[in-house]
Amino acid sequence: MAELEAPAKLVPEVTTIARARAGKGDVADRLWRLLCSVRFAMLLIALAAGGVMAGTVIMQAPTDVLQSQETFSAWLARPQLRYGQPWHTVFLALDLYRVFSSLWWRALLAVLTLAVVVCTINRLPGIMASVRRPAVKVPARLFERAPLRAEFLYAGLTSEQAQVQAAKVLASRRFRVIPTQEGPVSSVFADKNRFGKLGTFLNHVGIVTILGAGVMGNVLGWRDNAFMVPEGSSRPVGHDTGIVVASEGFTDEYYPTGTPKDYRSDLVLLKEGREVARKTIRVNDPLEFNGITFHQAFFGPAVVMRVKDAQGATAFEDGVALGYEFNGTGVSRNGGFFILGNRRMAVYVLVPAAQRGPDPDIPAGAVRLEIFEPRQARPSAIETLPQGTPREILGYTFEFVRERQFSGLQLVHNPAINLTWFAAACMMAGILAVFNFPLRRVWIRAEAAGGAEGGDVQRHGLSEVGAQYDVRLRLAAVSNRDVLFAREFESLALAIDREIAPLAQPASGREPAAGQMIGRVTDQAPVRG
C-alpha cells in the first residue's frame, strides 16, 4: 500500500491556517487546531447522533409540558413509572427526557457550529489558492509512484509535438489545460471540476445557516399552537398584529372506513373591521397573510352560549370552543371557558368527552356550567343546562343556544423561514457539487527518451529499447481509489496515444508506430464480480 500513500506527499497538500501555524503552541492555536480537526468534528457528529438516538428512543416531554418547571416535574412521574430505577435517575441526571431543549444539546450544537465555521475559515484560503494556482509543477517521482500512470515511447517526433497533442485531447474532454516548458521537458497540467471542492463550503455554510435561522425564528418569530375559533365567531390574533380571525364554518369528512378524508375551515381575516383575506384552509393548504401562516391543525366541539344580565341586556353571546380536556373524578370531559362581564366571572362549559361513554352528571344534549368568581378556588355555581332552556344563575340568565364546531389553528410567524429554505438549497447544491464534480487532475510529462531510466521503464526491461525512441510521454494521476476515474484515466491515455501515434515514425525493429503503453494504469483489480 506504500504506493497509495506516496502521492499525498508528491502532490503538495492544500495549505490551511492550522498547518501554517502547526508549530505554534499557544492556547488559541491549540483551540483552533482542535476545532478544525476532522477527528474532533467526527466526535461531535457522533455525539450529536448519540443525542438524537437518545431523544428518539427515550420518552420525551411534550412541548406544552416544557413550558414551566412545575409541569415538567409533574410529568416526570410518567417516565419514572415506565423505566423504573436506576434508569430514571440516570436519564434525569443526563437530562434525557428533554434532549432537544436541554442545555447540553444546545451547547453541542453551538460547538459543532463553531467547528464548522472554524474549519471553513481554515480551509477556504488554501482551497481558493489551489483553484487559482493549481499544483502545476510536481516532482518527476510522481510519474513513477502515482497510483494511476501510463507511459508511451515514440520515435520521430519532438516532446513539444507530443505536448500539443496531449493538450488537445485533454481540452476536448473539458479539462482546463496548463502547458509548461522547463528546459527540454514539456509538461501539461490539466484539471476538471476545480470548483467542485467549493461545494463543501456551500454545504457547511448551508448547515450553519439552517441552525442560525432556527435560532432567529425562535427569537424574532412567534407561534400559537392552540388558537381556537368556533364557527361563526372571531378571535384576535394578538402579537400586535391587529388581525382578527373569523371562522365562517368548519367541515370534517371521512371515508367509509372511518379514516379522515378532509378537514377544512372557511377563514376570513379582518383588520380594523375590514376584510383583508379569505380562504378555505386545509391541512395541506394553509392561509398566509403578512408573514403569518394560519394552519388547520385540529378541531373539536363548540357551543354557542348566550348570557343576559338582570336588565335583560345581552352580556355575552358567542361560540365557546371546548378544546381543553378535563380529567378528574374518573370522568373525562371536554371544555372551554369565557369571562363574563364586569364581575370577571370565569364560566367553564363542559361536555362529556367524545367516545367515552355516558357521563354520570351530564346527559346527552346538555352542558355543565361551573362558574368561578374572581380568586375563588371552588365554583360558586354548578348547573347542568339542556339546550334551548335559559336558566338564571348568580344574577344572570344563561342559555345553551346550539352546538357547533371549532377550528383549531396553528398560527406561525417565522421571519427566518425563507432563509431556512435558501440555506437548505445551498446545502443540497453543495452536496451535489462535491459528489458529482470531483476534482480530476492529470499531469503529463514529455521529454527526450534518451534518459528514460528508472521506474516503470526499467521494471519492464525496456531501458535498452529506450534508445530507439525520441520521446517519452508519461501520464500520472492521483485517484483516491476511484474505479471510475481509473477507467477515465485509461481511456484518456489511450486517446492521447491515438492522437500522437499517426505523427510518429515506426521505431526500428518495432511495428507499428504506436507508442508502447507500460506501467500500471489502474491501481486495482479490474472491476468484475
Binding site: 476532522v38 477527528r39 468534528a41 467526527m42 457528529i45 457522533a46 450529536a48 447522533a49 438524537v52 438516538m53 431523544g55 428518539t56 420525551q60 432537544f100 432556527g214 407561534r223 399552537n225 371515508y255 372506513t257 379514516t259 379522515p260 378524508k261 378532509d262 378537514y263 386545509r282 391541512v283 395541506n284 393548504d285 394553509p286 401562516t293 394552519h295 391543525a297 396553528q410 406561525v412 423561514i417 431556512t420 429554505w421 437548505a424 446545502m427 443540497m428 452536496i431 451535489l432 459528489f435 481509489r481 476511484d482 474505479v483 471510475l484 486495482q524 483489480a525 472491476v527 468484475r528 464480480g529
Partner: protein, 268 residues
C-alpha cells in the same frame, strides 16, 4: 387494476426468489453463466414490481405510498433499482446475493402485511410532495442497502481470500459510490420533509421520532463521509459504519411500530 397489481407483486416475489437462487449459484457455486440468469431475473423482478406499483397507483389514484405494505414494496423496488444501476455501472455481480437478499426479505415482509388499497388521509393529501418525499426515501434506502451489502461483504472478504466475492478494494469503493447516491437523496428527503411539515404541521422540524431517527441515519453517513474523505478511513472501519448506517435505516423504517409520533400513517 388492484388484482393485476397483486398478481404482479406475487410474480415479482417469485422472480426475486429465483434471482436470489441464481446469485447464490453464481457466487457460492461459482457458475459464471448463472450470473447472467441472475441479472436477467433481477431485471424481470424489478419490471414486475414496477408494474405492480404502477397498477396500484392507477387503482388508488395516488402514489403507492400510503401504508406499510406499499412502503415495503417500494423499498424493495428502490433496493433492486439501485443495485441494477450499480451492477451495470461497475459490471459487478458479486453483491447480488446480499442486496437481492435484502429486497427479497422486504417483499416477504410486505407479503404478510395487509395489502388493501387505502384512500389518502387528510394529512397526506399533497400529491407532489408525497411523491417526491417518499421517492427520495426509496432511492436513499435502496442505495444504503447496497452500501450495507458492500460493507458486509468487505468484512467477510477483507483479505480477498474468498475468490467468488468481489475484491475488497472494489467493495470499499462501491460502498462509497452507494453512499454518494443515498446521501444526497436522503438530504433531499429531509429537506422536502421539512417543507411539507412546514405546510401541513406548521413547523418544519418538530423533533418527531421519525424525523430524529432519519436525522440519526443522516449523521451516521455524515461521519462515514468525513471519515473516508478527510481521515482516509477505508476498509474495516468504514464498513462497520455502513452496517451501522443501514441499521439506522431499518430502525427508521420500522420505527412506526414502536416510536409513535406524527408519521404514524401506516395503517397498522
Amino acid at each position: 387494476m388492484a388484482v393485476l397489481s397483486y398478481y404482479a407483486f406475487t410474480a415479482a416475489f417469485i422472480t426475486f426468489g429465483v434471482a436470489l437462487l441464481a446469485y447464490l449459484w453464481y457466487s457460492v457455486g461459482q457458475q459464471k453463466e448463472a450470473g447472467r440468469f441472475a441479472t436477467f431475473f433481477t431485471y424481470n423482478g424489478a419490471a414486475l414490481l414496477t408494474a405492480s406499483l404502477g397498477a396500484r397507483w392507477i387503482a388508488a389514484g395516488h402514489p403507492p405510498y400510503s401504508n406499510q405494505f406499499e412502503f415495503a414494496t417500494s423499498f424493495a423496488w428502490g433496493t433492486a433499482a439501485t443495485y441494477l444501476y450499480l451492477e451495470n455501472r461497475y459490471r459487478l455481480r458479486g453483491m447480488g446475493l446480499v442486496v437481492i437478499g435484502v429486497a427479497f426479505a422486504l417483499l416477504a415482509y410486505a407479503s404478510i402485511l395487509p395489502a388493501r388499497i387505502d384512500p389518502l388521509i387528510a394529512a397526506l393529501q399533497n400529491r407532489p410532495l408525497l411523491t417526491i418525499h417518499v421517492a427520495m426515501a426509496i432511492i436513499s434506502y435502496g442505495a444504503f442497502a447496497c452500501a450495507f451489502a458492500a460493507g458486509l461483504l468487505y468484512l467477510v472478504n477483507r483479505q480477498g481470500q474468498i475468490g467468488f466475492l468481489p475484491h475488497p478494494d472494489v467493495l470499499d469503493e462501491i460502498g462509497y459510490k452507494s453512499v454518494i447516491i443515498g446521501f444526497p437523496a436522503q438530504t433531499l428527503l429531509l429537506i422536502l420533509g421539512s417543507v411539507w411539515a412546514n405546510v401541513a404541521w406548521g413547523a418544519y422540524w418538530s423533533w418527531d421520532p421519525k424525523e430524529t431517527a432519519a436525522l440519526f441515519t443522516w449523521l451516521i453517513y455524515g461521519v462515514y463521509l468525513h471519515a473516508r474523505a478527510q481521515r482516509g478511513w477505508h476498509g474495516v472501519r468504514t464498513s462497520w459504519l455502513l452496517l451501522a448506517g443501514f441499521g439506522a435505516v431499518l430502525f427508521t423504517f420500522f420505527g412506526n411500530y414502536f416510536l409513535g409520533g406524527l408519521h404514524t400513517y401506516s395503517g397498522l
